[in-house]
């Protein structure tokens, strides 16, 4: 699955009401623009970690701002 699609699937799994907004998402879109709270955001990260069978470090996560950042993170974990 394409990395952005995987992220969209993660968001839909955590909060199905956000799915309609996902079509407009670009790499520059900030994740928080979707209006998820911090708990839902971390739930979404948990979904990604499970699918990718990986763990993102705290240090990397606190630097994530946009969908582009998250795509990069997912790409890296696929390679690593």
């Amino acid at each position: 699955m394409d990395s952005l699609d995987l992220i969209k699937a993660a968001i839909t799994a955590v909060d199905p009401s956000k799915s309609s907004k996902l079509s407009k998402v670009t790499p520059a879109t900030e994740i928080r623009e979707l209006g998820m709270d911090s708990v839902a955001t971390m739930e979404m990260v948990g979904y990604l970690e499970e699918k990718l069978e990986t763990q993102f470090s705290d240090e990397v996560m606190i630097r994530i701002q946009t969908f582009g950042d998250l795509v990069n993170l997912v790409e890296k974990s696929k390679k690593g």
Binding site: K21, A28, G35, S38, E50, E59, I62, I64, Q65
Partner: protein, 603 residues
């Protein structure tokens, strides 16, 4: 080997831990981010804490010096916390940055705490140190920033470790607070000894050498730190620690670990019960055995009876007994626990007449066709402690009257560190701690109804902001839980202002609908509605709304213009880049400072 006697209250946390130093079959289990457990017997915990205490003493720190701790992993945190106490040092637990980049606000908070505490050392882990180097040059008292790995490589002191007494400061608990200045609650060993003892014996009924407690709560916060790091070992009870972030990412791990360990006790705020209930699927419920659970405490935020009832109903499929969820009330200024609902009893919801309550602050049974309000009981206080209700002149009101909750007893702490004004306001000479919470007492049970300072008085009537905020939150487009209501001086009396975050797709007439909803439901006139984007309302580190700060920003015309939250995406990038640069700079400056005995004064 026989187990030590834990039937008496130890007088310090150090004495409590030393008392179980010979115990090899009971102890604490720490889960890492991959949910891999590491067991430390109480004997091993003593050894690890002692070894690290000697390293701390070897750094030239002396009794009473403050040590900032930013440690996300429970294992690092618990051993370092006990090590500080063994070395007579005062740990200052601080929250790590744990979400997607909000580093500016976080660094500002960390800096404020370290400066107020005048910390001598900052202890962190390898992952977080890169972010922390930037604050280092700005805190004059800081001698060093160390990772636990670096600390463990230091030469240990061979001098005897200092002794601690009940009156000595045990640690500083910084409250997330609603004001900008950080307030560090001074918790003594004596405060902790008493509060953990009444919690263990009267509140949770911990059975020595039998029970297990499970905690995913952040350990920099009083509920996790006192409730689960200190209390279980005081009473010879096993505990297991799950990293907070792991719980948020995979909420099922909470009940999974409770089931695996056949645990009896845990605690969480209202939202955690909603999350856990939502995530538990049929597969999990069929697999878990929650029949050993006796007490699941609920505190730290307003308690919704429906949420807890739903949790009990769902987890009942895995054997959870009814009445296991237990509302509690507490605050850092009272060490931690103040009142507990009786164990095993169903929630007690008091319904009352809304009109009389709002107009006169009196608790009377609901009348026909009137507004009915319901509040959840947080139970009674402990032996040796007292709860009372006072009016704004300080008169004690007795039962069934709403006022400020005040609290007295040996759990009341010594005030705020280096903050005489705040100390005087909350810890007056009469010995009654001013909680700032509104509530009433009915048949000895304490009911929380709101916060005093946020009270909105319009046309001589008291209104809780929450009821106004809830009405606004029902409007389509408004983000539930992200509404703040307050009053500001109007032309001839206070007028009502509502500030709400809206979703990006909110309809154009959202503001009008908010005005209409509040008028319809509460018959109140809203003078101004301010709509903000997602994440623009000021919040505390734990995500609580900051009504006072919102009001200040409104009056200053600065709403939505503060902090990193309102920068565009390129601005955000710059912010992060600046942080990294500052961190590198801070580390270089620190090294240079050590070489030349000078200190950077970066502004």
């Amino acid at each position: 080997m026989s187990l030590p006697d834990v039937s008496t209250m130890p007088d310090t946390v150090v004495a409590a831990l030393r008392r179980v130093a010979g115990v090899h079959e009971h102890g604490y289990t720490f889960y890492d981010n991959a949910a891999k457990p590491t067991f430390y017997s109480f004997a091993a915990l003593n050894e690890a804490a002692e070894a690290r205490a000697r390293k701390l003493a070897g750094c030239g720190l002396k009794k009473g010096d403050r040590v900032g701790m930013v440690l996300a992993q429970p294992q690092d945190f618990v051993i370092s916390f006990f090590a500080c106490l063994f070395a007579g040092l005062v740990p200052v637990p601080m929250y790590p940055p744990l979400s997607f980049g909000k580093l500016d606000g976080w660094a500002e908070g960390a800096l404020g705490i370290l400066q107020n505490a005048e910390a001598s050392l900052l202890l962190t882990d390898a992952q977080l140190q890169s972010v922390l180097w930037q604050v280092m040059p700005k805190v004059k008292s800081l001698k060093d920033l160390l990772t636990v790995e670096k600390l463990d490589q230091k030469a240990p002191s061979t001098e005897p470790l200092p002794t601690v007494a009940p009156d000595d400061v045990c640690f500083l608990q910084y409250t997330s607070g609603s004001t900008s200045a950080p307030k560090g609650v001074i918790v003594t060993h004596g405060n902790l000894a008493v509060n953990t003892w009444v919690t263990a014996v009267e509140g949770m009924d911990l059975t020595p050498w039998v029970d297990t407690a499970v905690c995913w709560l952040p350990l920099y916060h009083d509920m996790g730190l006192i409730g689960f790091v200190v209390t279980p070992m005081t009473r010879g009870v096993r505990a297991a620690f799950i990293p907070t972030l792991l719980f948020v990412k995979r909420p099922n791990i909470w009940m999974q670990v409770m089931s695996d360990l056949k645990a009896q006790h845990s605690f969480g705020p209202n939202f955690a019960y909603a999350l856990a209930a939502r995530k538990a699927g049929p597969a999990e419920l069929a697999k878990w055995d929650l029949s050993n659970i006796r007490v699941l405490g609920c505190g730290a935020e307003p308690i919704h009876a429906d949420t807890l009832a739903n949790f009990e109903a769902i987890m009942g499929q895995a054997g959870l007994r009814k009445g296991a969820v237990m509302p509690a009330y507490g605050m850092a200024e009272a060490t931690l626990a103040m009142t507990f609902h009786p164990r095993g009893e169903p929630l007690l919801v008091k319904t009352l007449d809304g009109e009389t309550f709002r107009a006169e602050g009196k608790v009377v049974p609901p009348q026909d066709d009137e507004v009915v309000l319901g509040f959840v009981s947080c139970g009674k206080t402990f032996s040796g402690h007292a709860v009372s209700i006072i009016d704004s002149d300080g008169n004690h009101l007795g039962e069934d009257r709403e006022g400020e909750i005040v609290y007295r007893g040996p759990s009341v702490t010594k005030g705020y560190w280096k903050n005489p004004e705040a100390t005087e306001a909350c810890f007056p000479a009469d010995g009654w701690l001013r909680t700032g919470d509104l509530g009433f007492v009915h048949q000895g049970d304490v009911y929380i109804t709101g916060r005093c300072k946020d009270l909105i008085i319009l046309n001589g009537r008291n209104h809780h902001p929450t009821s106004i905020e809830w009405a606004a939150a029902e409007v389509d487009g408004v983000r539930r839980g992200n509404v703040v209501a307050f009053s500001v001086p109007g032309e001839d009396s206070e007028v009502l202002v509502v500030v709400a975050e809206t979703r990006p797709d909110a309809p154009a007439d959202t503001a009008e609908k908010v005005v209409a909803a509040i008028a319809e439901q509460l018959s109140l006139k809203v003078s101004d509605v301010v709509l903000l984007g997602v994440g623009q309302l000021p919040k505390t580190s734990s995500g609580k709304l900051q009504r006072r700060k919102t009001r200040e920003q409104y009056l200053a015309g600065a709403l939505g213009k503060h902090g990193d939250r309102t920068l565009g995406s390129s601005g955000e990038k710059l912010t992060v880049a600046r942080h990294v640069a500052r961190s590198l700079w801070g580390r270089a400056a620190h090294t240079a400072g050590k070489l030349f005995s000078t200190r950077s004064t970066e502004t």
